[in-house]
């Protein structure tokens, strides 16, 4: 498929996923009323449900998915490892440790988010300091530091879960699985998404060269060290913004970029915007399922990103080229 047409298709899918998120829910609203509610809002129950409940959540889901997919693309170029995803550098582990500690002590959402932010920034600082300390910017060391730190965080999180009283346990588990039911305002996340997408789509030529390896990229005239640092911090900020909104929603950052690469989108000029659109639509749809499949019970969205993502990726992988 020609690239511009692919991007337009993905944009239409994104709009469709947002509309689906407004239409489906525990409280049945006919399609006509959804349209009316969007374009001619009249104060009332329907209006409240659409504008105050479903739309903010749909926007949060979309921002989360877009951020995670963008971060996944960036880290896969930086680490030159197909298994890299937004969580590989321990950022979500640090955030989870912070958030869970706050939840354990019965803190509110604001304090929980603050603790998550502190944990994530702590993890970023530790990984950066340890891997940069040797003087050069070695991607293997960066990757290993992140993986080792993640393992440490996982152990501490297990310890917290074991010690946690029954009452707090469910909230903590939902946080770990990725859950958008407590998502706050998504404005900052959308800003981060727009900024990172713009920055790195403009740098797409350098990313394309960096995909050939740092030595080759430098030989072609890319200022590699600066670019790598920019990618690291860009991906870290995108991950933090997503994790603060929806907890650790798994699989998006791995699945979406690979699915697009498998259908032939490799040039980063197209891959970055396409990933953001596809990732956003994917999480929005998954979250709509999570809200409605077992209604009135709300399921964590992270379960559905994996349940929907695994068969898609397995199909694409097994397809004949």
């Amino acid at each position: 498929m020609p690239r511009p047409r692919l991007l337009i298709t993905l944009a239409l899918i994104a709009l469709g996923s947002l509309f689906a998120a407004l239409f489906f829910g525990t409280f049945p609203i006919p399609v006509v009323q959804v349209f009316d509610g969007i374009f001619f809002p009249v104060p009332g129950t329907v209006d409240d449900i659409i504008w105050k409940l479903r739309l903010p959540r749909a926007l949060a889901a979309f921002a989360c998915g877009g951020l995670l997919a963008t971060s996944g693309v960036l880290l896969q170029v930086l680490l030159r490892n197909p298994l890299a995803d937004p969580y590989i550098l321990g950022i979500s582990g640090g955030a989870a440790l912070g958030a869970l500690t706050a939840l354990l002590f019965g803190a509110g959402i604001a304090a929980g988010n603050l603790a998550a932010l502190a944990g994530a920034l702590g993890a970023i600082a530790i990984v950066f300091a340890l891997s940069f300390r040797a003087g050069d910017w070695n991607m293997h060391r960066l990757l290993l530091t992140g993986v080792v730190l993640s393992a440490g965080f996982t152990a501490l999180i297990s310890l917290l879960l074991t010690l946690a009283p029954q009452a707090q346990l469910k909230g903590m588990l939902f946080w770990l699985m990725g859950d958008l039911s407590h998502a706050g305002a998504s404005g900052p996340a959308w800003l981060v998404l727009a900024a990172s997408l713009l920055t790195f789509t403009l740098l797409a030529g350098s990313l394309n060269a960096l995909a050939l390896g740092p030595l080759k990229a430098r030989a072609l005239g890319v200022a590699v060290s600066g670019l790598q640092a920019a990618i690291y911090f860009g991906a870290a900020v995108a991950t933090v913004a997503a994790v603060l909104l929806g907890g650790s929603i798994g699989f998006v950052g791995l699945l979406v970029p690979h699915a697009l690469r498998l259908v032939g989108v490799n040039d980063h000029r197209w891959l970055l915007p396409a990933s953001a659109l596809a990732g956003g639509s994917f999480v929005t749809l998954a979250d709509t399922f999570a809200r409605t499949a077992w209604a009135p019970q709300q399921l964590p969205v992270g379960v559905f990103t994996a349940l929907m993502g695994v068969p898609v990726l397995l199909f694409l992988l097994s397809r004949k080229p």
């Binding site: 403009l202 740098l203 797409a204 030529g205 350098s206 394309n208 060269a209 995909a211 050939l212 390896g213 030595l215 080759k216 430098r218 030989a219 072609l220 005239g221 890319v222 200022a223 590699v224 690469r261 490799n266 040039d267 000029r269």
Partner: protein, 253 residues
């Protein structure tokens, strides 16, 4: 074009070359000869600013290496790496196009001049029929030509070529040799070529021999390409057939 003052090249704790002084003028073609591990590739990386030299100064087109931004240097100096990662996301044409990176003026795509340079480079190395092939499906020799074409698209004034003839068939070896000679002698560029092929070396103007133990020899090709010098360099017996640029050197078994 290129000046090297008191350069030292090391690998781990070994000093491969010490006190190297070189002056490469435009229109000069240099062969860099030496045994495996004698520091040829490390020298080229130091000259291209890819790895810092242990000591010494490198000046490219009158400016010290440190005074260049990476992109500016990419327009002046290009290096053909001996090895690079085999994976690439796109077609052969996409790959060759990346050679235009240091020239790109717009963030949104390539200019007509970039497209032309890419097409000329593809044509020079007989790669037009393969332009739309995914890079990953090319053979070893085709990839070597693709790398050369990328460097030709980059179009630098100083070329550093690390074993440009590896993997190439006889015809493409000859073609590459002719393209290098043309770039240097007709277009007034300068090139340093790491070689194991002494026939190619015979076509060069000057020769740099690296002994790998700190010593080096630099001078006119005619003076250095003598059986006794080559025996000292490679540590095997060498016999010469013919003379001048047409001389052939055969190891004696």
């Amino acid at each position: 074009m290129l000046r090297v003052d008191q350069l030292a090249i090391t690998a781990g704790s070994r000093t491969l070359c010490r006190g190297l002084d070189l002056a490469v003028a435009p229109g000069e073609l240099w062969a860099v000869l030496g045994c495996n591990g004698s520091g040829k590739t490390t020298l080229l990386h130091a000259l291209a600013g890819l790895a810092p030299a242990a000591a010494g100064r490198v000046t490219v087109a009158g400016r010290p290496l440190a005074g260049y931004s990476r992109r500016e240097l990419g327009r002046t100096l290009g290096i053909l790496l001996q090895r690079e990662d085999q994976e690439f996301w796109g077609t052969l044409a996409d790959y060759v196009m990346l050679g235009r990176y240091p020239h790109a003026r717009s963030l949104f795509g390539w200019s007509a001049a970039d497209e032309e340079a890419m097409a000329r480079a593809l044509a020079a190395f007989d790669l037009e029929p393969l332009a739309a092939q995914p890079y990953g499906t090319l053979s070893g020799g085709e990839r070597q030509r693709a790398r050369l074409a990328q460097l030709w698209a980059q179009d630098p004034r100083l070329l550093l070529l690390d074993e440009p003839l590896q993997h190439l068939d006889l015809r493409h070896q000859l073609q590459t040799l002719e393209l290098v000679l043309k770039a240097v002698h007709s277009a007034n560029r300068a090139a340093l070529v790491v070689l194991h092929d002494l026939t190619f070396a015979g076509r060069c103007d000057r020769v740099l021999m690296l002994y790998g133990d700190g010593r080096f020899a630099a001078g006119a090709a005619a003076g250095l390409l003598q059986p006794e010098r080559l025996e000292g360099l490679y540590g095997c017996r060498v016999r010469a057939f013919g003379s001048g640029p047409d001389a052939h050197f055969i190891p004696v078994i």
